[in-house]
Symmetry: C2
Subunit: 467 residues, 2 copies
């Protein structure tokens, strides 16, 4: 934007919101120019902090009037550059819209504003004996989690973010406010907008209220660590557990280098072997039978040690160590940035995919750990790279591409849970084929001037005009 | 269509398919002019029986060339007039595309053609120890079940049709063939087309291949009938069971008049009281504990008799009686047609909604039973009416409307599982508000000439030109 245009837009925004809710402060803009990924910083021209859907609607109308892009922003914990303003514009920071609006305990529903974080919500729900199931590790905002269709450790039992959405209040490109759903457990009425807007990465509208499904805190919980002599044995054990129909609530793979990093960072003393972190939810008798059956299975796959974490404190320690793994690597390699791969494959292809990843990691001489939500067929390589070393970044990009192509050739997806953002756009055509044209038509129909988070996820079929 | 136009179109279709796959036979057209509902017969001009996606694509190209509507047809078991050719045109009957193409047992996936029926699929899956969970009662085609986002007795545990869809091969309005998904358990790549096309009722494209999630046959199954002194007690018992976190696999309400009708038709001798039909799936120990807990709960809600059906034969008898209820009413009232209401509400509103329905049924002097998938908050009034009695049909329409408005005012939906078709269109604006404009824009973007099953579900924003 030219300086003159910025001045006019700022005046319009200040008139629609308040002085304090609109800023061009350099530091604030820098905080909104990147996420937690390796993608390069780009600054928004303006950052706004709305408090209501009406204010968001007013911002969209100004965006339309001046043809300026808007970028919705939660906490910036995305991993593929989703919140980076590639063409400048107005970043909408939702941190002031952070209220838990209503807990409908009898209906297992909760209505929140988009800036509420996962841990904030769970703290509130605990008072009612309820919990919000989706657990991506980071304390992301609920709005951001809807935008990327987040999932994580518990999705194998409770489903992904999209499965929890009952209704979204959305401000559309033209400022119109709609509701995409209702409070009923199911519906066959109209087109499924809940599912379409979930995972749309801010490209179809801004969420201003989110109604989510929540669950009763399970009566009994049992967690375990099972060590194996190889990653392959661990993955095959998971496949057998699923095929036996054991309703596992969490099953996470952590490879040897990752356990080492976790021990350093989280001050644990876990055996440095390929490990599964498991959790089971249920009634006491059922759980006992499930856990016994699981023990038989993992022993059949060469499990050398199985350690149960019975009390809440050691269970929390276990999951904290798992969740802190990304930070453990970042902390352990100062000066390097992290690239995280995110493919998801049919479970029958998982063992091969993990072996392929490990082999190429080593042959390229790259540093990284492999972890994964293996019950879903989703795994990550946490890859450390020096952004000032062109050879290393080229190797990392090459590695990411090999992993993606391996998955796509076997019926998988380039992103199981992190989303497309900037980083996975180049694979969209290969993954979706002509279905990409359908996505582009939908984007074009709902955002004809391409104002909503341009250049992320699905691009408009035709490009809008910007200042 | 004029006779001349029909001749030209038939020639084009016969050239693209074969002579035998194209018919204008009056009897065949009549079989494709209605579904199982009370909605009036309207004939297609032509019926075609394609065998491949390529043939369906060729039909769509002819539809485009001559601007003739097409209506996809499974078995005609829909309940809101979905398959009725309101503007004539070409009905595509998928009965020749009825093959189970691939069973991927290790991935819990199956790929089928759209004309495969539910019972046919389950018969095939049984050999592999697997089952397809969605159970709407009727032996519908899988294609039809995707089109309406069908659900039924088991959705409280396993989810609705949309939850099972991994990939759809879809022929679009212009004849292009796309895939909406992949084989991975989850994905955050692109827009969620699986969810958008599921429930689109043939208005966005024709399904030619469907990849579905299936499940291992549960280790142990326990079924029960629990009788109550009032419908209200029964519904409140269900709410308590759900709130206790008992993972019930089926929980069906059958009211007193419906039990009477079932006893007459299915030759059962069930106690004629408001009844819950329940089923639990799990491991032996867990199931036992769940069932004990459930018994305590229903007794606390005044359950007067609880009868367990332990062997497979009596369990099958129980569910057969439930599934045959619609036929039991139709059989019991010769000359009358059935109207089935289908609202779904938040579970906390269910008891009130059922009481409201019963009260109005009686005050209007209408004949009908109330049954429902109460674990989802979804219930049906099976209403018998004489289509030649204008007073009775007016009363029935009035009744349906009261039920719908009651649900919409309480965060519910006009259709939990049957779909919109013709019958629920008048409630779409009230239910969806401005979100309906978004749906219409999507329909317009993907079917600009309004050729795909016009006048069903969501109408195009702008109407196409027909012959």
């Amino acid at each position: 934007m030219t300086e003159q245009n910025i001045t006019v837009v700022i005046e319009a925004l200040k008139a629609a919101l308040t002085e304090e809710q609109v800023t061009i402060n350099e530091t604030v803009r820098e905080l909104h120019g990147r996420d937690e990924s390796y993608h390069a910083l780009q600054l928004p021209d303006i950052v706004v902090f709305p408090e209501t859907a009406e204010q968001v609607s007013a911002i969209m109308k100004i965006s339309n009037q001046f043809h300026i892009p808007v970028i919705p922003f939660g906490l910036g914990s995305s991993l593929e550059g989703h919140v980076i303003p590639t063409e400048g514009g107005i970043t909408i920071d939702f941190s002031l819209m952070n209220k838990v609006l209503e807990i409908m305990g009898n209906d297992f529903l909760v209505k929140v504003q988009p800036g509420v974080t996962r841990l904030q919500l769970n703290k509130e729900l605990k008072k009612y004996g309820l919990f919000f199931s989706v657990d991506p590790g980071a304390d992301a905002t609920i709005g951001g989690m809807v935008a990327t269709n987040a999932s994580g450790t518990t999705s194998v039992k409770y489903g992904v973010m999209r499965d929890q959405i009952r209704d979204l209040e959305v401000v559309l490109a033209d400022g119109m406010v709609i509701h995409t759903g209702n409070l009923a457990a199911k519906s066959s009425s109209g087109l499924h907008l809940n599912g379409l807007f979930t995972g749309s990465e801010g490209t179809l509208g801004c969420f201003t209220e989110i109604t989510l499904r929540v669950y009763g805190i399970p009566e009994h919980v049992s967690a375990a660590r099972a060590c194996f002599s190889s990653v392959n044995d661990a993955v095959e054990a998971v496949v057998s557990i699923l095929q036996a129909g054991i309703p596992v609530a969490r099953v996470e793979l952590v490879d040897e280098p990752s356990i080492r990093q976790a021990n350093l960072y989280s001050e644990t003393d876990y055996q440095e072997k390929p490990t599964l972190f498991l959790e089971f939810h249920g009634n006491e008798a059922g759980l006992k039978q499930d856990v016994e059956f699981m023990k038989d299975i993992v022993e059949g796959h060469g499990c050398s040690e199985i350690q149960f974490e019975t009390d809440t404190a050691s269970r929390n320690k276990l999951w904290e160590a798992r969740h802190n793994l990304a930070y453990a690597f970042i902390h352990g390699y100062p000066g390097k940035k992290m690239m995280v791969t995110d493919v998801c494959l049919p479970i029958s292809e998982l063992a091969g995919a993990v072996a392929h990843a490990r082999e190429h990691l080593e042959s390229l001489g790259l540093i990284g750990g492999i972890v994964g939500h293996v019950g879903d067929g989703n795994f990550h390589v946490l890859l450390m790279m020096d952004l000032n070393n062109p050879e290393e970044t080229a190797k990392a990009a090459d590695f990411n591409e090999r992993i993606v192509l391996y998955a796509l050739e076997r019926g998988g997806t380039c992103t199981g849970e992190h989303g497309v953002g900037i980083g996975k756009q180049k694979y969209q055509r290969q993954e979706h084929g002509d279905a990409l044209l359908v996505m582009e038509k939908i984007k074009q129909a709902l955002d004809p001037h391409n104002l909503l988070n341009p250049n992320k996820n699905v691009k408009a079929a035709e490009k809008g005009v910007h200042l």
